[in-house]
Symmetry: C2
Subunit: 422 residues, 2 copies
């Protein structure tokens, strides 16, 4: 099956881009690691040296856009934000390189030697909206992992993305690598998203990050495998054997440190046995910082002033200072609530009972499960993965935070000495 032929003639611009990406992929996947490291160093330097040009491009986007203050905030570049991105790129440059790592090696009784070797996924398509620096994160994670990236940022940040893209291409060129290793769609037209979703054999996997509408559209229409950055309908469960002091400070951090990130806790589950004392305390803690609540009947039986939660509330990712609260009768009831409402991203249990913690962790359906710590730690950088292109909540691999070592596939290498299969 001549794979490259099946899309001949379809969407010529995407076809041309993806062909160039494939050629670049052949180079990136086998070049010396020092070259990709050098490219990352040059990108970090470029972000620092080109700050003025990047901010100017960003102002152009901001002037044209008619955005809510929330989205305007996300779209805005500052010197500090660019420095923060540059620092992350420096850190990536110092990381162990995943390309070619031997994941397993063994020998069969007939003498065949087998190895499972990490190799780049190939050509990644990145579709995102919001912060333009997401594209830089994705591009530099791709360079670190020997992958090639085809980028389609949000139309509202087109000029910012183009300016950042230019810095990345200069970094690649200075390291002697093809500029085509990070490509960008030629304009902000929506047809490029559709073409990417159908680019079977040209794009190996699409990563999507954005609002629910964008993610669901991509998941529904894609013919290429998709890694979808998940919604974070996350739960913290305070078991009856929790240390109440620890649980109060962890829940406060899990909800309020940054309520707008996907790892923020949206629903607090409290065991009925401790709710009469724990619930008033945690509500007082959080209310003092401006948090409001949606509570089930059992919680309102303890604190009647709490607003009543609807079923929809328990399925809502607030990304704000609003907390759902339910009182549950033990760990199985907590698990049942989570199975019903969780988006399979991150859940936490607070307990001093190790057996209960193990029971909970084994049965949670989510990519990440935490014990006695804050769901806000759900992050590839915090996990030591060297950053992340997103946190995936599907069951297929890669799952959870996806850093450079997760942007890999593997091949089997079989070394024989003339063995014949009987």
């Amino acid at each position: 099956m001549p794979i490259n032929k099946q899309n001949e003639g379809q969407c010529p611009p995407m076809h041309g881009l993806a062909r160039r990406a494939r050629v670049a992929s052949g180079i990136l996947s086998v070049c010396p690691v020092e070259q990709r490291t050098a490219a990352l160093r040059h990108v970090a330097t470029g972000l620092r040296n080109e700050t003025e040009a990047l901010l100017a491009a960003n102002r152009w986007d901001l002037e044209q856009a008619n955005l809510s203050p929330f989205f305007r905030e996300r779209l805005t570049l500052t010197t500090e934000r660019l420095e923060s991105v540059a620092s992350s790129v420096d850190a990536l440059a110092g990381m162990e390189d995943p390309v070619g790592q031997v994941l397993a090696a063994w020998q069969q009784p007939n003498g065949l030697k087998l190895r499972r070797v990490a190799t780049p996924l190939g050509v990644l398509g990145m579709i995102h909206e919001g912060r333009p620096t997401v594209g830089v994160d994705a591009a530099t994670l791709a360079i670190r992992s020997g992958n090639v990236l085809l980028l389609r940022g949000g139309p509202e940040s087109f000029h910012s993305t183009r300016a950042l893209h230019s810095v990345i291409q200069q970094g690649l060129a200075r390291a002697g690598l093809p500029e085509d290793a990070v490509l960008m769609v030629p304009d902000a037209g929506p047809e490029h998203v559709e073409a990417m979703l159908r680019a079977v054999g040209l794009i190996d996997v699409i990563v999507v990050r954005g609002g629910r509408a964008l993610v669901e559209h991509v998941q529904a229409e894609a013919r290429v495998p998709v890694l979808a950055h998940a919604a974070g309908m996350c739960h913290s469960y305070v078991h009856q054997a929790a240390d109440p002091v620890l649980a109060r400070k962890v829940v406060r951090n899990a909800k309020l440190r940054r309520p707008g990130i996907c790892g923020a806790t949206e629903t607090l589950l409290i065991d009925a046995a401790i709710a009469p004392t724990f619930l008033p305390n945690i509500v007082a803690d959080l209310a003092a910082e401006g948090c409001t609540f949606r509570a089930d009947e059992a919680a309102r039986a303890i604190l009647p002033d709490l607003p009543a939660a609807t079923e929809d509330d328990f399925a809502t990712e607030w990304l704000d200072r609003i907390l759902n609260i339910a009182v549950v009768e033990g760990v199985d009831a907590a698990l049942a609530h989570i199975a019903r409402f969780s988006s399979r991203h991150t859940e936490a249990i607070l307990t001093e009972d190790e057996a209960v913690a193990q029971y909970f962790m084994q049965r949670v359906p989510s990519a990440i499960v935490m014990w006695n710590t804050s769901t806000q730690f759900s992050d590839g950088g915090e996990f030591g993965l060297g950053g992340e292109i997103g946190i995936m909540s599907g069951r297929m691999l890669p799952r959870g935070p996806v850093g450079p070592a997760q942007l890999m596939t593997y091949r089997y290498e079989v070394h024989g000495q003339g063995q014949l299969r009987p």
Copy 2:
């Protein structure tokens, strides 16, 4: 997002089956390993004890079907074939269990302990045609890996599949496990395939094995992730530094041991430098065993009696005693031919030059690459994986032969002592 609600009302029979499967999955994924091992032993015993009933059901299928001798052969059960399947199930019962294995463990500077733990994919959908024993392989691999299977075999083998399914359910029940851990669609209607392909949130991954038409239909229409058992357009490349004696016996095995399996070599590439001597020898070897040829112009310049190959021939998986032959100018030309025509399954290089072998293995786009051995070894059993549900040629994981340890996803477990994210 209440995931289980989004398909409410869609295709009631599939919905009911998949809900039962989900309940069974909650049990299989956490039950003691000894219970799943016992179920496998009972299935093996059942296959031996119920041979007469199984052969009777198979005769019913064979009487009704109007099949070519080739497909009739594949459909036929015999005592020997059942014993061979039972032996494979016994071997699976003796294998290390992948559920709960700690794939990685590390600690962050802030004291957080992280583990990546293998956990079953969940509910597998299996869509296949041809040999009815494929369903038993899939079901027992699922039991070994803590997964639940929803089975839809070929309509032509419906009664055989139902009889085998009954043996499997008895084995599960005898081990105290839910019979719903292996479910089967209620009849041979094609609508069940379509319902499975759309069962987002109900089925976690679909495995498809069958002819190209079935596989391509599933890949095009599925909204659920798909593991597609690959076509095997495999190449063996005889490099100029090959040991000619070793290369001749390996190529003969790669082509003729069983020409009908996906790991059979379909195209032989020979370096121009050795073709004048190697080509006549290997053609003589293979022709003596009834093999015929399709050769490019460079090969026909050496042996003018060889039939000319068309471009389509080089893209054809013959699964028969027919071999494509091309003479190439070195390893890069061989790689270019493979990049153009391979189905990304298995390729082999025959050479005594280790540097060339490494160069080739790094650059081949396929899931499996072999050095100095036969492409016919492409098989999960031969790799020591304990069997396989198929060989996957996509780039996403799992890739290559998929045994029990590859039918897993992972979750991240994070153990803290009250850490807060700054």
